[in-house]
């Protein structure tokens, strides 16, 4: 299954080799031309039957992860985070470490030695370590070296009513949507880019946008969703099962109202449920793409993900399927001339 394969692959920012190979294996079947750049982003071109605006579809393939920075004398591994990980979610979790994917666990002091006042303190990442069962540093170094990366050891599984749980739905769910879109062979000339290093500052997308020089770009994301017990509506961000979420604003962009209205019109015309992503925090690759070159028209569409950046993340499969339909509907409408470029935006040749 595509989502299982994508979410279980290893690929923290800067270490996307494994996930890139998984995606490339699938994309080879659908794309006319595939290449990579010097950062490691994967470009998949579909020439399409129509001439029309060049559309860039973006999903980042990197994930948040951990890097081993030191092997202590007692064989425990000290680590730092790659990307934004709240240390709160790390305690007492299994991980896979290094090229051999050895099992490890993030240990924590027994409660018996933890005074009550201390139990409400947030641990610093420097207080944490991974135990792979090594008796000392020599044994540990036979399988793990400083600089190796580790990821959460979470299996993809169907969950609850029509949901799924896995690690790294952010943004493997976007990668899966993008592969499904390529598979459907859209009519427009498209460059699908699976970018690197989104989690450390949208860095892969910045280079990709300059290279592709798209007329229109759409970023596909897994985004924050906290529609849970006792959350005020202003804190939800999105609702699970509420359909694909269109960004209104985030920490890097304010949505272009014309493209946002276009997406809403298309969703309504095609009877696809949608919602607006409505928290200021967070960002996605569109933040880098929008300001690339002379500026790029477009927006971002996200699948809501509960417990984003945590070891176990949850999506609704309905949201996932609706997001695929939404992207295909947008491409169809663009191909049919449904999105009129604003005057003077430049680059629009259709």
């Amino acid at each position: 299954m595509l989502l299982k394969e994508l979410t279980e692959a290893v690929g923290p920012s800067g270490f996307e080799d494994e996930i890139r190979d998984v995606i490339r294996t699938h994309a080879t079947r659908y794309a006319d031309h595939i290449f990579t750049d010097s950062l490691g982003s994967l470009y998949c071109e579909v020439h399409g039957a129509n001439t029309g605006p060049r559309v860039m579809l973006d999903a980042h393939m990197d994930e948040v992860g951990l890097m081993i920075v030191r092997v202590d004398g007692d064989g425990l591994l000290r680590f730092r985070a790659i990307g934004g990980i709240d240390p709160r979610v790390l305690l007492s979790k299994p991980v896979r470490v290094g090229p051999h994917r050895v099992w490890g666990v993030i240990g924590w002091k027994p409660v018996h030695f933890t005074p009550r006042a201390e139990r409400s303190k947030v641990p610093g990442i420097e207080d944490l370590y991974i135990d792979i069962g090594a008796r000392d540093d020599r044994e540990a170094r036979q399988v793990v070296q400083p600089g190796d990366v580790a990821v959460f050891a979470t299996a993809f599984e169907p969950f609850g009513d029509g949901c799924a749980k896995a690690k790294s739905f952010d943004d493997r769910v976007g990668c899966a949507v993008l592969l499904e879109v390529l598979k459907a062979r859209p009519l427009l000339p498209i460059t699908a880019v699976f970018t690197v290093q989104e989690e450390i500052g949208l860095r892969g997308a910045e280079v990709a946008a300059k290279r592709v020089k798209p007329d229109i770009a759409i970023a596909l994301e897994g985004t924050v969703c906290y529609d849970v017990a006792g959350t005020p509506s202003y804190g939800e961000g999105t609702k699970l099962g509420g359909g694909p979420a269109f960004t209104v604003y985030d920490s890097r962009t304010v949505a272009d109202r014309r493209f946002l209205d276009f997406m809403i019109r298309v969703a309504e015309k095609h009877h696809i449920p949608y919602q607006l992503r409505r928290v200021k925090g967070g960002s996605n690759d569109f933040g880098a793409i929008q300001v690339s070159g002379r500026g790029v028209m477009g927006g971002s569409i996200s699948v809501p993900v509960r417990y984003i950046h945590a070891p176990v993340q949850i999506i609704s499969m309905d949201d996932y399927h609706a997001t695929v339909r939404m992207v295909l509907a947008l491409l169809q409408e663009i191909a049919e001339g449904g999105f009129t470029p604003p005057a003077g935006s430049g680059g629009m040749k259709a």
């Binding site: 240990g107 409400s120 069962g133 749980k165 906290y226 949850i314």
Partner: protein
Amino acid sequence: MTSGRHRQTLLALLEGWGGAGCEAADMGPRLQHALAPYVHEMDTDWLGNVVGLRRGVGPDPRPRVMLAVHMDEIALFVSAIEPGGFLRMVQAGGFDPRVLIGQEVTVHGKDELVGVIGAKPPHLMAPGERDTAPALEELFVDLGMSEERVRAAVRVGDRITVRRSPIPLLGERLAGRAIDNRISFAVVLECLEDLRSRLHPADILVACTVQEELGSAGARAVAEKYRPDLAIVIDVTFGTSPGLPPHMSFELGRGPAITMGPNIHPRVFRALRDTAVAHGIPWQLETTQDTTGTDAGVIQLAAEGIPCGLVGVPIRYMHTSVEVADYRDVVDCGRLLARYLARLSREEVEGLTCF
């Protein structure tokens, strides 16, 4: 050194569950099944204790030695079902709530449901809140189901356990939840396996007790009912790890800890220690200055007073879902008990009341 016979049995037991007060649902039957090949008789009681009897070869009346291992684990209960179908929790046994955030759990309702423990994310926290870890009451279980479906499947009082299969680490080490105290049951199995090829004078009662994590209610009942002449409690102790004082924690892979102190009969301690030394079994000294936090605490006071010994293997990260142990310690601890029981005479047991 052998790697033991019951590593696989232990891994299977770690897939089971048995929160305090709920042991009979799953763990009790699993232990009876594992124990059956080694005992002549088996008994259970209303509390859920499981007791097996393996007869010795000495002349009547044979002394009775109880090997006591608790079978319960720390667990969570459903305390409320919130709008939206999210579950609130209370705990039975001691968790540091910080180790629960982001865990997969099993909710033992009408069916076994998979859930995820959620907590407030940083973007919703007030600035001061970011430095504070949430209390257990602020955490919740997300079942990915509508409130209506949740209410049909789950009741207040249902048990919640962390969902985690045992994890193979390097060498003989493994990680998992409820290694406290399933691993001590593996010690007993290794001991009984070793005793197959030895004669032991005393009758051996294997008592798998309930509710140790809530104050040893099971052990008290078993000790009163069987009134053994001697009890050896097998329970885990603290493995060395960051943040623990070196003099209160024990190296993994360096043998079982043998405890001494007021809760332990001094001659039982010495006999266990001397057995380890005589047979070249690695061991570590655990000193205690008060009642131990184990079943030995109540067993010592049961009946007319029961002499107790205490041994166990060190585990790291106790009461988390990634407790780490070294199976070599299990084998060594089983061997120590077998050698001790093989030479334990009636005279020695009777002498324990004479100071």
